[in-house]
Amino acid sequence: MSAVLVEAAVKSAVLLALLLTAFAYMTLLERRLIARFQLRYGPNRVGPFGLLQPLADGIKLIFKESFIPARADVLVYWIAPAISMIAALFVYAVIPIGPEVQIFGRRISLYLADVNIGILLVLGASSIGVYGIILGGWSANNKYALLGSLRSSAQVISYELVIGLAVASVVLSAGSLSLVDIVNAQQRLWFVVTQPVAFLLFLIGGIAETNRAPFDLPEAEQELIAGFHTEYGGFKFAMFYAGEYLGIVTMSLLTATLFLGGWHGPVLPGVVWVALKTFAFVFLFIWLRATFPRVRHDQLMGLSWKVLIEIGFANVVVTAAVLALVGR
């Protein structure tokens, strides 16, 4: 029993370190890549290629003055960024990042828990993450923050449905809610081939769910200054940021897991395949941000409710019908 606990504790620690490093370097990667797309250099002064920039940013943010706006709801104001970050980190407990490997003569599975409702847990946790945004915007007692969080709640509720429907057809094809089983079901054929529509829906929904351009209305700087985190600074802001960037990694990892066969791939070890596939989607996220202008709020809502959800329902029905008639 204690061996299991130790294993879980070690895995959690490694995962946490890995994720926080990934978050730190996501910020650098995004800044460098966006700069490259715009024919600039981006941060390149701290360390070689600016590789120590995230460290410098972190130190700066930690030592900033802890600021609380007047008439803010102090307790909620403090809790909101924590919710945002913890929800983003929690998801990784159930997402597998590789097949079982042999370390120190023990067979170790590269996931914290193979929950039989894994994907539901992921969707649930990402919905909880929205509370961070909503409460953060609400508690700060700032009209821009409030508008940003209102937009965010409307957006995330709309696009969660899209994601849910895309996931539903994947779950139907795999016959399981466990992410490990879903990956194993793609041993022969990736779901991106059998479920292309669900793949696109999931991708669009994922961009909207993580509040990324072109769906970054909750923090549309031209209209809302910084949206929900207008009144946040220092480490609390860093936590929101961590939540946002970990969300991108989560969505990329999920896309790779649900549609691109997770760790399945020739020659290279499974973990490398997961990393490569995840990076491909992270790159796509940044590429999209460099390319597209922000959509209007009514366009955003219209796209979800009038187009994507209908397509999603149709996709689920067709998938179910085909599976019922032909079998898996």
Binding site: Q38, L39, R40, A290
Partner: protein
């Protein structure tokens, strides 16, 4: 349906166009390491120029003081004496100060100057740790030798 496909393809094309820029050379100059070329008529730090024979051009007329829109120039004129002939006119500038914090580098002083004494040079790295260090005094502004500012000392004006 056809329009949906067309719009989706347009989005894809947009992505590809932006993607192409990933492989183009950067336009940014890595400034402190690499410096940009300064144009011929660039207006940078001022110089008080001399004639070929080392005589100061400034005659202390204070026209630059009058024309300066940000009132950055201070001139204290003094009479030339036969024993001490500093400039070619009746008077010369005993003290000449330019407040680089006030100067907007419009170049009016250069245009107003009847003898072509004050010119705007090429140097643009003008910063300091104190305000006092940025009030340039006459010894700092005067050319150490004729032509040090890069202007021809034989020119008329």
């Amino acid at each position: 349906m056809a329009s949906l496909v067309r719009q989706s393809l347009a989005l894809l094309r947009g992505l590809l166009i932006v993607g192409r820029y990933l492989f183009r050379p950067r336009v940014t100059t890595a400034y402190p390491d690499v410096k940009t070329r300064v144009e011929a008529r660039f207006k940078g730090r001022h110089w008080l120029t001399r004639y070929e024979d080392g005589m100061e051009r400034c005659v202390g007329c204070e026209l630059c003081v009058i024309v300066c829109p940000s009132q950055a120039i201070y001139v204290k004129a003094a009479e030339n004496t036969p024993e001490r002939q500093v400039s070619k006119g009746e008077r010369y500038a005993e003290d000449f100060q330019i407040n680089m914090l006030r100067c907007i580098f419009c170049g009016f002083c250069e245009e107003a100057c009847p003898t072509g004494a004050i010119v705007l040079g090429r140097d643009y790295e003008l910063s300091g740790y104190t305000r006092e260090s940025l009030i340039y005094t006459k010894p700092m502004l005067t050319e150490p030798y004729p032509g040090a500012s890069g202007r021809d000392p034989r020119r008329e004006v």
